[in-house]
C-alpha cells in the first residue's frame, strides 16, 4: 500500500494503529507486539516441554518398561530440559522484558527494534531444528541437556542439528539481551536514575549481562563438540590428548550463570508484586539491588559444584564448596527483605500475590536444598539423584515458572484492558500449588533413598513415591490448561480494567491506559 517514506512520515502520527494480518507479526518492530510473540511462543513451548514431562512421569509411574523405550525416554528427559529452559522460561522472561522494560523506564520502545524482531524470529527457527531431531534417523539428543561427551557423540545423524539449534538459540538470546541492556542504559526517561528503576528492570539489566557473558561460552563448547565429531579435533577425546571433563568445566561456566539467568528476573517480578498487594514499599531496595549483583558475580565462580564427583583436586572441591555456600547470603537477604515488606502491610490475596507468596516459600525450599547440595562431601551422595531433580524443580518450576505466572496475572489487565477471571485463576493457583508439591516433594525422598536421576526404570522399593509423584505430575500438567484458558478468556474480553488496575501498584506502566496504547511514552514522562 505504501512506500517506506510514506511510513516514516507517519511514524509518529497520533493515530498510528497496528497493521493487520500476518505481516504485522512477521515484520513488527514494536516492543509490545514482540513481547506478545515471545510470551505466546513461551507458552507453546511450555506445553510441548510439559507433554514430554508427562511421558517421563507416565513411564515412571511404576517399575518395568511400560510406555516408551529407554532410549526414547532419554530423548524425552534431554528435550524436556532444553525446551523448558531455552523455549519456555528464557523466552518467557524476554517477552516480559520486551513488554515491560520500556514502559517501566518511560521509553517509547526498545533501543534496537529490528534486532528485536530478528532475535524473536530466530527462536521458532531454532526450535524447528531442535524438535525435528526427534524424527531424524537415530532420534534426538539423548545424552542429557548438559550434552556431556563422549556420550553425546554417540548421537545419530541429528547431532549437527542439535549443535546448530543451540547456536541459533544462543544468538537469539544474545541479541535479545544486548537490546534490553542497551534500552535500559540509554532510554530511561529524564529523572529515572539507575537507583530509581523498578527491581524488574534491575534484575534484567544484570541478567542481560550474564547472558551476553556466557552464551558465547556455550556456543564455543558445542562448537568444540562439533569439530571433535567431524573435523578430527580432540578437545574432549582422551585418545587424542583431550579431556572430557574439560567440556564439563566449560559447560558449567555457562551453565551456572544460566540458572541465575532463569531466576533473577523472577526476583524482579516478585519484588514488584509483593509491595503492590502489601500496599507498602519494597523493603531494602538498595540492598536488593546489591544482592542481585552479588549473586550474579558469585554465579561465575561456583560452576564446578555441579562436578564434585568428577575427580577434581581437593583444593578445587573446597573452593567451589565455599563459594557456593556464600551465595546463600545474598539469597537470604532477598528472602528476608520480602518478609520485611510483608510485615505491617495491608495484604490482599489476588492471584498474582498468591503466586508470589508461593514463590517465596517454595523457592526457599529449593534454596535450602541447594545449601545442602553445596556441601561437597555430602554431595557425593546427593549428586545425580532425584534429590537434585527435586531441588532444581523447586527453584525452576515453583521459582521461575510460578514467577512468570504471577507476572502474567499481574500485568495481563494492563496488556489486554480486561481483568482475568479471578475465581478461575484462584482455582488454577490452588490446583497448581498443591499438585506441584505432590509432584516434587517426594522426589527428595527418592533421591536420598538412592534413586539415581535419568533412569527409565527403577528398583521396586521406589514405586510408592514415584506413583505419588506421577499423580502430582499429571494433575499439575492438566491444571495448566486452565491457565491457557484463562489467558485466552482474558484476551477476548472481561471486566474492564482501570489504568491503575491494582490499588497499590506503583510505577510508570500504571499511568498508561489499559490496554496500553500501541505506542507509549513518545514524549518522555518526568520522573520526580
Amino acid at each position: 500500500m505504501s512506500s517506506t517514506t510514506h511510513d516514516t512520515h507517519h511514524e509518529h502520527g497520533d493515530h498510528h494503529a497496528p497493521p493487520y494480518g500476518i505481516t504485522r507479526w512477521l515484520f513488527t518492530t514494536n516492543h509490545k507486539d514482540l513481547g506478545v510473540l515471545y510470551m505466546s511462543f513461551a507458552l507453546l513451548m511450555f506445553f510441548v516441554g510439559g507433554a514430554m514431562a508427562m511421558v517421563i512421569r507416565a513411564e515412571l509411574f511404576q517399575p518395568g518398561l511400560n510406555v516408551v523405550d529407554p532410549y526414547f525416554f532419554n530423548q524425552m528427559t534431554t528435550m524436556h530440559a532444553l525446551v523448558m529452559i531455552f523455549g519456555a522460561v528464557m523466552p518467557g522472561f524476554t517477552g516480559l522484558a520486551n513488554w515491560l522494560v520500556p514502559v517501566q523506564i518511560g521509553a517509547p520502545d526498545m533501543a534496537l527494534p529490528r534486532v528485536n524482531n530478528w532475535a524473536f524470529w530466530l527462536l521458532p527457527a531454532g526450535f524447528v531444528l531442535l524438535l525435528a531431531t526427534l524424527f531424524m534417523p537415530g532420534g534426538g539428543p539423548a545424552g542429557g541437556w548438559t550434552m556431556y561427551p563422549p556420550l553425546v557423540l554417540q548421537m545419530g545423524d541429528a547431532f549437527p542439528f542439535l549443535i546448530f539449534a543451540v547456536h541459533i538459540l544462543g544468538i537469539s538470546s544474545i541479541m535479545g539481551s544486548i537490546n534490553i541492556v542497551a534500552t535500559i542504559l540509554n532510554m530511561r526517561a529524564p529523572g529515572m536514575t539507575l537507583m530509581k528503576m523498578p527491581m524488574f528492570v534491575w534484575t534484567w539489566l544484570i541478567t542481560g549481562f550474564l547472558i551476553i557473558a556466557v552464551m558465547p561460552v556455550l556456543a564455543g563448547a558445542v562448537t568444540m563438540l562439533l569439530t571433535d565429531q567431524y573435523f578430527g579435533t580432540s578437545f574432549f577425546n582422551t585418545a587424542g590428548g583431550g579431556d572430557p571433563v574439560m567440556f564439563q568445566h566449560v559447560f558449567w561456566f555457562f551453565g551456572h550463570p544460566e540458572v541465575y539467568i532463569l531466576i533473577l528476573p523472577a526476583f524482579g517480578i516478585v519484588s514488584a508484586i509483593i509491595p503492590t498487594f502489601a500496599r507498602k514499599p519494597l523493603f531494602g531496595y538498595s540492598s536488593m539491588v546489591y544482592a542481585v549483583a552479588a549473586i550474579a558475580f558469585l554465579s561465575f565462580i561456583v560452576w564446578a559444584h555441579h562436578m564434585f564427583t568428577v575427580g577434581m583436586p581437593l583444593a578445587g572441591q573446597l573452593f567451589f564448596m565455599f563459594a557456593t555456600m556464600l551465595i546463600a547470603v545474598p539469597t537470604g537477604v532477598k528472602i528476608f527483605n520480602w518478609m520485611a515488606t510483608l510485615w505491617r502491610g495491608s495484604i490482599t490475596f489476588e492471584t498474582p500475590m498468591l503466586f508470589a507468596l508461593a514463590f517465596v516459600i517454595l523457592f526457599t525450599i529449593g534454596g535450602l536444598s541447594g545449601l545442602m547440595l553445596a556441601l561437597a562431601p555430602v554431595d557425593l551422595q546427593y549428586h545425580d539423584t532425584y534429590f537434585v531433580v527435586a531441588h532444581f524443580h523447586y527453584v525452576l518450576v515453583t521459582g521461575a515458572v510460578f514467577a512468570i505466572m504471577a507476572a502474567v496475572y499481574y500485568w495481563l489487565p494492563k496488556w489486554t484492558g480486561h481483568m482475568y477471571d479471578e475465581k478461575l485463576a484462584q482455582w488454577h493457583f490452588w490446583l497448581s500449588v498443591i499438585s506441584v508439591n505432590v509432584l516434587f516433594f517426594p522426589q527428595h525422598f527418592l533421591g536420598l533413598a538412592g534413586m539415581p536421576r535419568r533412569i527409565p526404570d527403577y528398583a521396586v522399593q521406589f514405586t510408592e513415591f514415584n506413583m505419588i509423584s506421577s499423580i502430582g505430575g499429571f494433575v499439575f500438567g492438566f491444571s495448566q490448561l486452565l491457565f491457557l484458558w484463562l489467558v485466552i478468556k482474558c484476551v477476548r474480553g472481561g471486566e474492564k480494567a482501570s489504568d491503575q488496575v491494582w490499588e497499590g501498584a506503583q510505577g510508570l506502566e500504571w499511568t498508561l491506559p489499559s490496554p496500553a496504547p500501541y505506542h507509549s511514552f513518545e514524549t518522555p514522562p518526568v520522573v520526580k
Binding site: Q62, G64, L65, Y71, P137, G138, A142, G144, Y148, P150, L151, M155, A239, P244, K280, P281, F283, G284, S286, T309, L314, L318, M321, F322, L326, A328, V329, V333, F336, M339, L342, R344, G345, S346, I347, T348, F349, V360, I361, L368, M372, L375, A376, P377, V378, L380, Q381, D384, F445, G450, P452, R454, D457, Y458, A459, V460, Q461, T463, E464, G504
Partner: protein
C-alpha cells in the same frame, strides 16, 4: 493400581513398625525399604560422616525454613487487609540488613568447618591395604583386584534382565532386588582399607554404593581414586549414577563384604582353578572371561566341533545378553547402533571381518571388543547366530577353532 498401592503402603507401615525386630534377609543391610526416605548411615566411617553432616545441615535448614515460613504465614495472617490492617510505610533499616547478612554468614561458617574436615578425610587414600580397579562399560562393570590378580565383569542379573523387557515373563515385583542385582558381585573383605581406582572404557559412568558414602565418576582415559573401609559384612547395592546411554538404568553395583577368612577362601577359589589362573595372568590362549563364572569351555585342549543347532542356541543366548541392548533383539539396530540384519559386513562370504569387529570392536564407537570378554565358543556361537538369524541365512557356521585361530 491405587488399591495395590494402598496395600503396599499398609504393608510398609507394618514393616516399619516391626522393623526393630525383623531380621533383614541374610546379608542385606536393611536400609533399602519401600518408602525409604533418607540416606543410609552406611557401613564405613565415610558414610557415617556424610550421614552426620547431612543430618546436621538438614536440621539447620529446617530451622531456617521454619523461621521463614512462620514469619510469612504469621505476617499474611496478622496483616491481612480483611482484618483491617493499615499499611505502614517504612522501607529501610540498615541495622536489620546487617544482622541478616552476618548471622547467615556465621551459620555457614559453622557448617563449612565439619564439611571441610570430611572432604579432606574422603580424599585421603594413603595407607590402603588393597586396590580394586573399577572400569565402566556400556553397560556393565569390570573389577580388577590389582594384587590378587583376579578380574571379572559384573552385569545386571538375568532375572532383572527378563523382567525389564516390554511385557515381561516375570513382573519386576517378583524379582528379588530388581535392577539391583548382578551376576558377579564385587567381593571384598571387611575392616580393610580398600582403594578404588575408577576409570571407564567408553563414556562417563559413576560408581555409586550409598552405603559406602560416596559416588565417583569413571572418566575414560583418566583414573579417579576413592576409598572405603567396610565395617560390617553384608550385601550393599548401588547403581550407575551418571547418564551413560540407553541402558544407564540397568548397570547396578553389588558389593559383598565378607569376614577376612571368608574373603580369603573366596580368593583361593577364584585363583585356584586352572582356567581362572590363566585369566588372571592374562594368558592369550586361555581366553577365559574371568572369575571362573562363565567357564563352560573345556580347558586347554582341542576346541570342540559343534553342530549348527548348538552354535545357534549358544549364540542366541549370548546375543540376548550382550548385544541386543544396542543392536536390538530383532537385529534391526536403533539410533546409532547399526542393524545387523541384512548388514553386508555380517553376511559377507568370509566371516573374518565380522569376527574381527566382534572380537576387537570398532575403536571410537560404542562397539566394544568382546574378544576378552567371551570365550571361543561364545564368540563362535554369536557370530554364527548373527550370520543366520533374521533372514541373514548365510547357512555356514563359525567354529570355536576359527575363533581361536583369529585371536
Amino acid at each position: 493400581m491405587i488399591s495395590k498401592m494402598l496395600v503396599r503402603a499398609l504393608a510398609a507401615i507394618g514393616l516399619l513398625a516391626s522393623a526393630a525386630h525383623a531380621a533383614a534377609e541374610p546379608g542385606e543391610s536393611g536400609w533399602r525399604q519401600p518408602w525409604g526416605m533418607n540416606l543410609p548411615e552406611g557401613v564405613t566411617s565415610l558414610s557415617q560422616e556424610t550421614y552426620d553432616l547431612h543430618m546436621l545441615v538438614f536440621y539447620i535448614v529446617c530451622a531456617i525454613g521454619a523461621f521463614v515460613f512462620i514469619g510469612i504465614f504469621y505476617s499474611v495472617w496478622r496483616f491481612r487487609r480483611s482484618a483491617g490492617a493499615r499499611p505502614a510505610q517504612f522501607h529501610h533499616n540498615t541495622m536489620v540488613e546487617i544482622i541478616w547478612t552476618v548471622i547467615p554468614f556465621l551459620i555457614l561458617l559453622g557448617i563449612a568447618i565439619p564439611a571441610t574436615q570430611s572432604m579432606i578425610t574422603m580424599r585421603d587414600t594413603t595407607d590402603h591395604e588393597m586396590t580394586v580397579k573399577v572400569t565402566g562399560y556400556q553397560w556393565l562393570w569390570e573389577y580388577e583386584y590389582m594384587d590378587e590378580g583376579i578380574s571379572f565383569f559384573s552385569r545386571l542379573d538375568e532375572d532383572s534382565q527378563r523382567a525389564r523387557q516390554r511385557n515381561p515373563e516375570v513382573a519386576p515385583e517378583e524379582v528379588d532386588h530388581y535392577l539391583l542385582d548382578v551376576d558377579n558381585p564385587l567381593v571384598v573383605p571387611v575392616d580393610t582399607k580398600i582403594r578404588f581406582l575408577l576409570t571407564s572404557n567408553d563414556v562417563i559412568h559413576s560408581w555409586w554404593v550409598p552405603e559406602l558414602g560416596w559416588k565417583q565418576d569413571t572418566v575414560p582415559g583418566f583414573v579417579n581414586e576413592a576409598w572405603a573401609t567396610i565395617e560390617e559384612p553384608g550385601v550393599y547395592r548401588g547403581q550407575c549414577a551418571e547418564l551413560c546411554g540407553r541402558d544407564h538404568g540397568f548397570m547396578p553395583v553389588v558389593v559383598v563384604a565378607m569376614e577376612q577368612d571368608d574373603y580369603e577362601a573366596w580368593v583361593d577359589e577364584q585363583t585356584g582353578g586352572e582356567e581362572s589362573a590363566q585369566a588372571a595372568s592374562g594368558d592369550e590362549s586361555g581366553s577365559e572371561s574371568g572369575g571362573g563364572e562363565s567357564g563352560e569351555q573345556a580347558g586347554g585342549g582341542e576346541p570342540e566341533e559343534l553342530s549348527q543347532d548348538q552354535l545357534m542356541a549358544q549364540g542366541e543366548e549370548v546375543f540376548g545378553n550382550q548385544c541386543a541392548a544396542c543392536h536390538q533383539a530383532d537385529g534391526q539396530g536403533m539410533g546409532n547402533f547399526p542393524a545387523l540384519a541384512g548388514s553386508s559386513v555380517v553376511t559377507a562370504e568370509d566371516p573374518q571381518e565380522v569376527l574381527d569387529v566382534v572380537m576387537n570392536g570398532v575403536s571410537g564407537t560404542a562397539m566394544q571388543a568382546f574378544g576378552d570378554r567371551l570365550d571361543d565358543r561364545e564368540i563362535a556361537g554369536v557370530v554364527t547366530y548373527i550370520r543366520n538369524a533374521w533372514d541373514n541365512d548365510t547357512g555356514d557356521v563359525v567354529q570355536p577353532a576359527a575363533v581361536q585361530a583369529a585371536r
